[in-house]
Structure formats: C-alpha cells, structure tokens
C-alpha cells in the first residue's frame, strides 16, 4: 500500500455504549475495535524510520513494529511485541494519556489525526487474552536471590514481571485484600474492567510471583525486617494514597467523601451492588464533585451511575486548564454530568442531624499570567452563592502515604514526604532499597509508574547480581 493510500484511511473510532444505556450500568463504555477496524487503523501508520511516537512512550513500546504485525493479521505476535517492554498493554491501551504521549508525537498527527495507538494496543492485548493465547515466558533457573516488592500497583507489578523474567524470586506485599492498587480500587469498572487487571495478575502468579495480601509494611513488618527475613532487595511502590481535604468549615458533615473513599467503596467494595455486597455508599440526590482531574471525572461518572438527580463537577479554573483527559470530559458530558467552571467552594452547610444539605461557592476569574505564565484563579467579591447538595466528593489530589517512611528513618524523603530516588536507577539512599511510581512522583500516571518499575528492576538486578 502506498503512503497516499494509507493517508486516505480515516481514523477508526471505537463503537461506544449509548450514554442513556450506560448510565444504568457499570459495563465498559467503548466496545473496542473489530479485527477489520484494527487492520485499517494499523494501516494508517506510516512505518516511520525514526518513529517519534516511540520516544513519546515512557516505556518505548515498539509501535511501528507492532502495528505492522497488526496489518498482517498477526495479532498475537503484536501483543507479544508490546509485552517485551510493557507488561500491561490491556490496561495501558485503556488508561494511558496517549494524547500527551505516544500519539502526541505521531507523524500523522501533524496533518490530521494521529494513529490510534492506544486503541490498537488494547485490541491486540484483548485478542491475545480472549483467545487464550497468553503464554507464560520461560523462566530462567533461580538465581538464588529474593526480592520483596511493597505495593501491587502498576509500579510494583512491573518490577515483579521484570525480575521474575530474570530468574529472581519475587514476593509482593499488598495492604489491601486484592492486588492491583489504583487499577482495582480507584479507576472505575466502566473505564477499566477489573477482570482485565485480574488476568494480568494471574499471569504474574503463573510466572511464580508470590502475593501476600493483607500485609501492611510498616505494621506487620518493616523494610529492615524484610532484609532480616532474607530478601536481597526491596522495591517500594506504595503509591500516593493519602487524600487531601479542602479544610473548609463543615467538611466532616455526613455525606462528604474523599474521592478515594467514594471510589474504594464503589469499585473495590462493590457498593454499587449493595445490599448484595455489604458495603454501603450514600447515593444522594444532588451530588457535587470538587476538582478537575481524572479522579474528579471518575467520581462524577460513578455518581451518575448511582442515579441521583444531578451531578455537577465544580472546578476553580476553566475547561482549558482542566487536567482530566478530554475523552473523560466528553464521556462525562454525554452522560449528563454538569460542569461549573471558575467556581470554588467556601463552606459546607449541614442540617440539624449533621448531614450535608447545601454548599456555598464563590465565582472566580483568572488573573493576568504571572512570571511563570500561569493564570491564577481569584475570587470575585460579592459573587457568593449557595447550591443544594447532599453528597460532596472532594477530588483535589493525594499526598503520599507516610507508613513506610515513618518506620524507615534512613530512607530520604522530600518536602511532600515522597521518597527521594536517583532518577535513572530508582535507588533510594538506603542500600538495597528502590522506589518508583506515585510514592516518588506524587500523583502521576500508570505508564510513568511502570517506566519507573522497569528502570528499578534493571538496577535491582545489577545490585543483587553485583554486576
């Protein structure tokens, strides 16, 4: 096929569940490509000699190579090609910010639309899994070394994957009763079906990973304790799970959740199926979500599915500054989520029983850009107003959890309590201890956490093999 012909193929869009239908369920929204669509989309790739897309991907997935395999209908091989550098393609294909990474640098995006790399990645990974083609790689003979991985989010899972493939024994310690981190407790089912994460974890277990659930390191054991138990190195990937509150009057009224609590109740504890599942969540009539990131949008779209009359996202800047992915904002809009931009909360107002009944807000305007070029939101005097609200979800971000740092004083921490590492090796100040993902970066992304895991695994390998 000539480049001209390739350029004439339109970007293939995934079919999606109808908005009216999907707000009544928690099933995934996009259906994924058909085989024909996948081949067509892959044909749009120009097979660049110097593919800019690859350097835009934090784990350098070999994009032209795998799209070529897709054009030839060799879907399973394409999935394996991706897995050489990315152990969780079915997850990344769904949740990566492709528009800021691989797809942002795609040559086709210069004029027109970039190749839909994420959708293709999702397609081949799903194809491999659904056709039971997932094969367990050959594991080399045991090196005699044992590594402890603390936290089973994307960072920890990637480290485990890489170290197992190098012949080390790996035990993952996870605080919760299921592994997967934010992929299981934070990101909702309709954006990332839990069975996909479960399948990825099953794969690691088949490769020999031991997973100790219900194990909070810093409580049941410490990092030093792990070394005395015979581990040769420790990786800390405990994430950024400490919710930030607004510190406004009335914030502890009944009906006010952190996004973490709200999403954990619904996703991890399955409160959307209460009373079949025992954990409840307040559904509310008028729900307000405060914040503008993915977490805010995930909370709002989750709330929408629990059938209140109205769900509103309140953000203090404007749509342009909103950090959530455009796709999420669009999906939310289609589902009837309302947005109020340039608005900030002032206080929560309760009824006599201490339940939230209203909120007071103030309108904001953006100042002229300061030296850093950022336009700060400033309150407009006299623009205060109230709204009836019975459930509010605070989604303004997370700090890092201090459990490990508190019990491991010789690990160096930064100002926000995050663990400080050497950026190219992931090594902390403490010998034999490595870290990566949100515990180092603060709230970041799945693929950055995986990239950290990959680099840390390589240096752990060098460290324990004394190379």
């Amino acid at each position: 096929m000539t480049d001209k012909q390739r350029k004439n193929i339109p970007r293939q869009e995934m079919r999606e569940q109808d908005p009216l239908e999907r707000i009544a369920n928690f099933h995934e929204v996009p259906y994924g490509y058909s085989e024909e669509q996948a081949v067509n989309e892959a044909l749009r790739c120009l097979q660049c000699k110097d593919p800019k897309c690859v350097s835009g991907c934090p784990v350098n997935v070999n994009i032209p190579w795998f799209t070529k395999l897709v054009t030839e209908g060799r879907f399973v091989e394409a999935a394996r090609k991706i897995k050489e550098t990315n152990p969780l393609p079915a997850v990344c294909g769904r949740v990566c910010r492709q528009e800021d990474q691989c797809e942002k640098f795609c040559l086709r995006g210069k004029k027109g639309k970039p190749v839909s790399i994420g959708s293709l990645e999702r397609f081949v990974a799903d194809f491999e899994r659904e056709n039971e083609e997932v094969s367990i790689p050959e594991i080399p003979k045991w090196t005699g070394k044992k590594v402890a991985v603390v936290g089973s989010g994307p960072a920890g899972l990637t480290v485990a994957d890489d170290l197992l493939k190098r012949g080390h024994k790996v035990t993952i310690f996870e605080a919760l009763h299921v592994p997967g981190g934010v992929l299981m407790y934070g990101i909702p089912e309709f954006r990332l079906p839990k069975k996909i994460v479960e399948a990825e974890i099953e794969y690691l277990k088949k490769m020999g990973a031991e997973i100790e659930l219900n194990s909070v390191i810093g409580k049941i054991d410490t990092i030093d304790g792990l070394f005395s138990d015979g581990y040769d190195a420790v990786f800390v990937g405990t994430g950024a799970g400490l919710p930030i509150f607004l510190n406004l009057p009335g914030e502890n009224l009944v009906g006010i959740y952190s996004a973490n609590e709200y999403l954990t109740r619904v996703n991890l504890m399955r409160a959307y199926r209460f009373p079949e599942y025992d954990t409840p969540v307040l559904r509310g009539r008028r729900v307000v979500v405060i914040g503008g990131g993915n977490t805010a949008l995930d909370s709002a779209r989750t709330a929408r599915r629990l059938c209140p009359e109205e769900v509103t996202v309140v953000y203090r800047r404007s749509l342009e500054e909103m950090p959530a992915r455009a796709e999420e904002v669009r999906h939310g809009g289609e589902e009837g989520v309302k947005f109020r931009f340039l608005t900030a909360p002032l206080r929560f107002i309760g009824d006599r029983e201490g339940r939230l009944k209203a909120m007071e807000f103030v309108r904001m305007e953006l100042s002229a850009p300061d030296e850093s070029g950022r336009r700060r939101p400033l309150p407009i005097a006299g623009s205060e107003f109230q709204m009836d609200v019975d459930v509010a979800i605070v989604a303004i971000g997370n700090d890092v959890n201090p459990l490990i740092q508190n019990t491991t004083p010789d690990i160096e921490t930064g100002r926000g309590g995050n663990i400080v590492v050497e950026s190219d090796s992931g090594a902390t100040r403490k010998a034999g201890v490595f870290a990566g993902g949100d515990i180092v970066r603060g709230g970041a992304t799945v693929i950055l956490a995986m990239g950290d895991g990959r680099r840390a695994a390589a240096s752990i390998h060098r460290h324990i093999m004394k190379e």
Binding site: N252, S258, E353
Partner: protein
C-alpha cells in the same frame, strides 16, 4: 483464610474468638486493631486485638453483634474461617509509668481497655478499674480485669450487680477520695466517653479515649475515619485510635457514625431474611 480456633460466648450477643494469625500475634502491641472481611461480599470492619498467644499463633478478639457483619461473625463457629484479616493497625497505646491510672470500660469497650490496662500495670502503674454494662449478664472480662487491677469496681445501669448506675458516678466518687489519680483511660460507647471527659475536663485530669469511627481501608488511604481533634482533622486508623479525650469532637463523631443508618437496617433485613431471625439487639 484465617481459622477460628476457639469461640467463647461471653453473653448472648458478645463472643470471644481466637483466630490463627501467627504473624499478627507476634507483632501486635496493646491498643492496636485488625480489620476483617468475612467473605467475598463482606464489609471491612475494625476490631481491637484483645490479646495474643505467640506459641499458638493466635490473636483474641471480642465482638458484639450490632449489625450485619458482627452478626455474621457471631454465627461462625470453631473451625470456620474468616476470608481476610489485616493488622496490626493503628498506633500502639502509649505505655508510661505515670502513677495511678483509672481504667474505665463500658460494655464492649472493656475489650479494648483490657490489653492497655494490662500493659500499664506491667509498666508499674497502679490500676483502678471501673467496668460497666447495662446489666450483669452483659458484663465481660470481669475476672481478667480483676487479675490486672489493684482495685476493681463494677457498675450496672439496672443495679443487677455492683454499683447501681453509671461508671462516671463511680469515677466521681473516686476523684473525691484523697488518692491522686494521674490519668484516666476510658473506652466505651461515645456518650460514655464524652461523659467521662465532662467529669475529668474541669479537673484537668488527663484522659485518653479510644475512638471507633467507620473505617474502610485502615491505612490512611480513604479518610472515612477522620475526626476533628483539637480543631484539626485526624485519621483515627493511622493517628489513633487513642486520643486525648478532652480534644475530641464527640458530637461530630456520633453523627458521622450514624451515616449509614438506613443502609445498615437494610443490610440487617437481608441477613435476617437469609438466616432467620436472631437477636441483634444493640446493647452497649
């Protein structure tokens, strides 16, 4: 899976369980708790570790049936299993030699008081205990408390045993006596802890309480357990569960603990529907 090795019915709605969890048994300190999830559909609920036996590798918990999860736990027998047990969570109690400590346990609250009182005694303190319940047959851990106390008082609301009235009345009487009390530890229903603090606050008598908010993860990740303490937001699962009682906003905690009143009733109806009627009277 965590096996129940022993079950002892302490009163009609309170039972003691020993659960096989060797690692927790070894690490736990007085004042810490676990979170359990009984089965795949279950809620995560916190329970205090009352005691442990490192040779058997068991931990002891005492649970009162107040709702669905504690009701299901109460229906389990020796040899049954609990799906998830995580711990030890929370900060250990601060054990220091201060002199004379009055340890007050109200209802099921005696369960969290016992391990801390035991350690305080071991640290060389004089322990005066007051344990209370609505009625004699609801009193728990009397002989255990006796064995670690220099003096023990009992109070029952209905006068069926010991002092007829509230634990706070016994406390007030003790305060009037010419003995120096250096510290009070009080655990029980929120109104009881509040009442104790109202007695000790004007006398500037240092009072520690152990709080029982609704929890989910127990690791500081969700903020469900937040309580205003000294005007600041604190997470009970990681900053507590013990706090200076004079600083706690009990009103707020009481209201927050009623968040799911309607849902809890629904869950109970589900349970009785499936398992036949049982007595789930709330009796703390």
């Amino acid at each position: 899976m965590y096996e129940i090795t022993t079950k002892l019915q302490l009163s009609h709605s309170v039972a003691l369980f020993k659960i096989k969890a060797p690692k927790i048994a070894q690490k736990r300190k007085a004042g810490q708790f676990i979170i359990i999830r009984i089965n795949e559909y279950g809620e995560r609920i916190p329970l205090t570790i009352v005691d442990s036996d490192t040779t058997e590798g068991t931990i002891t918990i005492i649970s009162q049936e107040v709702g669905k999860t504690t009701g299901m736990l109460g229906a389990l027998e020796e040899g049954d299993h609990i799906l998830d047990v995580v711990g030890p969570l929370g900060k250990p109690a601060e054990i220091k030699k201060v002199g004379t400590v009055v340890c007050i346990g109200g209802g099921i609250g005696t369960a969290p008081v016992y391990p801390i009182a035991k350690e305080l005694r071991a640290a060389g303190n004089k322990i005066i205990s007051i344990i209370g319940a609505r009625s004699k047959n609801l009193l728990i851990l009397e002989s255990e408390m006796q064995s670690i106390s220099d003096e023990l008082f009992v109070a029952t609301d209905d006068g069926s045993y010991g002092h007829h009235g509230f634990v706070t009345q016994v406390l007030e009487r003790l305060i009037e006596e010419p003995v120096t009390i250096n510290m009070v530890l009080a655990v029980g229903p929120l109104p009881m802890m509040n009442a104790v603090c109202n007695v000790t606050r004007p006398r500037k008598l240092h009072t520690m309480v152990s709080l029982n908010p609704v929890m989910v993860d127990g690791t500081g990740m969700c903020g469900a357990c937040r309580v205003t303490i000294g005007g600041k937001n604190r997470f009970v699962c990681v900053d507590g569960p013990e706090f200076d009682g004079h600083e706690v906003d009990f009103e707020e905690l009481l209201r927050r603990n009623r968040s799911y009143f309607t849902e809890e009733k629904m869950a109970m109806e589900e349970l009785t529907y499936h398992e036949g009627p049982r007595c789930y009277e709330r009796n703390i």
